[in-house]
Symmetry: C2
């Protein structure tokens, strides 16, 4: 626990799943409906700061979220990233990418290359209830 | 194997370690000495396309490279990412980040915010022989 760390103080999004080790949150990003983060609860900076068993638990959750995103949103690609340069508290971005999204085929941190049509984004947002259910199902299935 | 895929056709960098499942390559990036990639040998797009045992093997290698980078380069942060929007062949970026690098604290895919001093980059490049040795040692140690 670090008092300066926003991921120690706050959930970091809408919590879809939480256990004693980690939480899965849905990020409220207008351009990326379905963008999730898997956040380790304890204040640790790097994957290699975790014991191997905990790394495995964290990556299993990341892959469960990836599977749920693929199932419900059927994206072109999934992007996974653990950066933490600004918030050095271990968290994984799990991002569904589409050929018509704001940055494709570039990373979402690059300059935007288009604006996705509002009705396309609305259709993806309409799938969020199904995504919440799929994530709950995937994390329950594999423990 | 896909004939259109550059990571099926080519190594994708200087190979530091290779086994039957994956390879670790050193990327020749002028701004990021020590930037490595861990590339799955078979043509697979997503982590969740791999069986769980293979995912674990891949992430173990990613963490071994992370550990070697931390030991030799002592970066401010490690960035891990599996994107693959342009080359949908599973590969992990393992990037040592420094407060004085071209994009810090932003991801390396954002717009550059500075030019790192040439002598600083040269000093980091001078550590690459030690990095090659450390990666070889880490992958040997833990299998």
């Amino acid at each position: 626990m670090s008092e300066q760390c926003e991921l120690c103080r706050e959930d970091g999004g809408e919590v879809i799943h939480r256990n004693d080790r980690l939480r899965v949150v849905l990020v409220d990003d207008a351009d990326y409906p379905g963008f999730c983060r898997v956040i380790w609860n304890a204040h640790v900076a790097e994957m290699s700061d975790l014991p191997p068993a905990d790394r495995a638990i964290l990556m299993r959750a990341v892959c469960q979220v990836e599977s749920a995103l693929r199932e419900v949103l059927q994206p072109e690609k999934i992007n996974l990233a653990s950066l933490g340069n600004m918030v050095p508290h271990l968290h994984w971005h799990v991002i569904p990418r589409f050929a018509d999204d704001a940055h494709f085929p570039h990373p979402i941190w690059a300059q935007a290359v288009r604006q996705t049509a509002v009705e396309v984004l609305a259709a993806r947002r309409a799938l969020l209830p199904a995504l919440r259910a799929a994530i709950a199902r995937h994390v329950a299935c594999e423990g």
